[in-house]
Each structure stands twice: as C-alpha cells, then as structure tokens.
Symmetry: D2
Subunit: 135 residues, 4 copies
C-alpha cells in the first residue's frame, strides 16, 4: 500500500531563497507516515494510549528540485520493511501541477515502550495491520 | 529586573521576503521568558517537576522593523504584573549592531496544575522569587 | 465574507506539554489570510509579482483551549477593516469534532512596495476585490 | 578544522514525547554549517551578495539519544569533502552536561548561482579559504 496526502506550501515554510527550507520536508515525511498508519487502520494516538511510541532512528533525503510558496504537493509514503520492532518507509514529494519529483526520502522507525524508552515488540493487533499494508 | 538574552537569526528563521517570519518572534519571547525565570532562580523544569505549567493565555506583538539572516538580536524581557495565579511580561527585540527596536511584545501567562489543567496558586517558594525579580 | 480552511494538527506542531505550541497559531492565521485572499480572487504570488508585499504590523491572540495532535481544526478568517494601505482580520480556530473555540486572533497588515519597503496604496484592481469581500 | 557552536533546547523545540522533534536537528546542522563558514572566513551573506547560494542536495541523520528541554547542546561540524562545486560535512550533536552523543549527521551542499539556479564553480577567493579550513 502506497499512501498519498496533499500539502500546500505555506509562506512560513519558505526561506530567504524563496524556496521551501529543506528541513520542512523531514516534517512532511511525518505527515506522510501518520497518514500511512491511519490508512493501515492505526492512529498514533491509539498506539500511544497503548504505551507505544514510534520514534525515528534514521532519516535521509535527496533534494531534486525546490518547492515554492503556494505549490500544491503530494507526499507519497511507501513502506519498505517491517519487523516486530521496526519499520522503514520511503517518501516521494511531488508537485501536483506538473508531477515533478522534488524530494526523495527514507526513514527508519522503531517501536518503543513509552514507559521504559526501550525498543519493544509490537503486539499482533498492530503488527498484522502493518503487515497487511506492506503487501 | 529586566533580562537580556542574545539570539542570532538563523537561515531557517527567514521567509521568502528575506526577513524573519513574524511568528518566530513569538517563539523568541519564550526564550526571553525562560531566561527571566532562570535569572529569577526558577527553571521551567523545576516548576514542571513540582506539578506546575505556565501556559500563555494572551500574546501580542508590534512589528517595527524587520530582522534579517545573521542579525545578532537581543531579547529583553520586562515583568509587568504578578499575582499568585498569573504573570505578565513585555518584550523588546533589538538588533545589536545598531540598537534598532524591531519588535515589541506582551504576554499573559497563568500558573496551571499539570494534573488538573486548572489555574492554580503558585506556592510561596516560587512566588517570592518572582516578586523579588519584579521589583 | 468569512473563509474557512481546515488544518490537521501534526505531531511536530505539539510541544512537551502534549498540546499545540502557542506560536503555531500565529502561523495558522497566515494560512487563513492566504485562503481569504484566494477566495477574494487574489493570490499572494500575483500580488508579489506586481511588486506588493503584505507584511504584518500587529498580531494578537487569546488562547482559550488547547489543541492536541491529530485534532482536525477550522481556521476562520474574518475581515474587519480595509483602506488602500492596510487591512485587518480577526481569526477563530475551532476544533471540528466538538466545535470548541480554541484561539481567537487579530492581525493588522499593510500593503508595502517590495522595491522600496514603504507602505503604498493598493491599485484598484486589488482594492475592489478586497472591498467586495469585506462586505 | 572542526567547529563547535552551542545551542540550548527551547521549549518550542520539543514535541508531545517531551523530547526534541527530530526535524529540528536538521535545522541545527545549518547552524553548525553557517558557523563553520564563518570561522573559515566566509559569511553566507557575503556569498549571497556575490551571487552564490549553497543549497543542500542530501541530508542524513542517525538519532542515538534524545535531547530534552533546556539541555545545553554542542553542534560539531566536520568538513569531509570539497571540490569547486560541492562540499560535504559531518555533524555531531552532543549534550554538554554529560558529553552524550545525541545525533550524527551528514550533508552534501552544492555551490549554485543565484541568477541561474545552476551548479557553479566557486571562485578562488572562497575556495582557498574552504580548502585551508578542510585541512
């Protein structure tokens, strides 16, 4: 399952080069990841109430072309790996108007206990949903 | 007591007009407020461990002149009112190079219980420190 | 004309109190303002190409109730005053789920020449659209 | 030459997990990079006035341990490669109190013409300073 979510570039997302500041895409990968989980049937709030958090351990991005104020973007989220303790995603950010690929990204996240802060195995009720969404 | 803290404008603080985005000054008032508390002998972490938070209920700002990338700024924090349940501050953001006043601001904060989320009276150990700093 | 635009609270919009950081609402007023202009038939990009910018000179906000991660919000933008050199707006941020008013705000903006940085009179082609939208 | 710059974690840098949001470190790498250039004798403002910009083409980060509100951090910037058209840096973010390594990062930047947006060769007056700083 690949999910898509739209995001319009705000004025406050730009920097003095009149393009989107590169750190904002890292934030937008999060929008994509949260949407992916939602479409897989999991909300972060539900996960957190059950005592799990899903912190990032690695992120990378390649910047291909800049986005500008008021551009309508699509954030694509593609799951690439899943075990009971971690999950990885690729991301593609594209401009709606012309389909240009702007940024590619990758994150590695781990399932972690809120209480102990330690990596922990995800229970079946979540794992099965993610497994289904990965295929 | 008036406190001063320096802040250099980062590239990511600017927007497509090549000036600091106006919402960032609201963040910087917080830097000033935290520094004021610290110089009054109170850290927010200590307050929070004791079960208090200090949320904002009102903020206002007047933008006089824009700051730009790499400007060295001073954030001045001036306490203007204190009761056992709330505290108000004025702020002035100035450019170090020429002393230009860039932004003036005001916030109203309330002492709140972390547990109940309700406004609560600050214990003497904190109130006395703030009272001393106000004079 | 009152305009509405939706915004879902991102995880990166929250702070260590597990609520939306107060400075983000100031950013979201901008989302509302840009949408108001768009529905009035004006894009900021068009204004800027014509040599005008629309900086904020004053902002204020009252925080009534906190928003949390994943809340779906409505940003309402209400024009309150217009002359050829400035425009003022009120804002209301509400939670969709229960209609709770979270934040009220106000901004004062001025029409400014990009070239000179001076306040300037807006040409009729923009002013008439805004005037129509105000009524 | 390795440069160090200090940064105290602001409340607005944290998220609902009560730790620094991961995207902020990408911003802080920029603080490190700007400081590196400054210590090498180059300001970004000077580069930009000369018609050059220095956009990022790749970024990566590994998150080892979280920073929290009010932590005093050191951002270390280590140059790893330089040609006339690009430069790469490694970053290490450490907590001052205990020296803990929190985040490691890497960026690839390219020297670009502001006018054309194309990658361009850096003139000797800048290149020589960077070359000296790399050794």
């Amino acid at each position: 399952m690949v999910t898509q979510v739209n995001h319009r570039v705000n004025f406050y997302d730009t920097d003095a080069m009149a393009v989107v500041h590169h750190a904002n895409y890292i934030r937008w990968f999060e929008i994509g990841r949260v949407e992916f989980l939602r479409e897989a049937g999991i909300t972060l709030n539900e996960l957190m109430k059950d005592g799990f958090v899903f912190p990032i351990t690695e992120v990378s991005a390649k910047y291909v072309s800049p986005a500008r104020f008021d551009d309508e973007l699509i954030i694509e989220t593609i799951p690439t790996a899943l075990t009971k303790v971690k999950m990885a995603f690729d991301y593609r950010v594209l401009r709606v108007l012309d389909g240009t690929l702007l940024v590619q990204g990758h994150t590695q996240n781990v399932f972690t206990s809120r209480e102990t802060g330690m990596i922990t195995r995800l229970p079946a009720k979540y794992y099965e949903k993610l497994k289904a969404a990965l295929d």
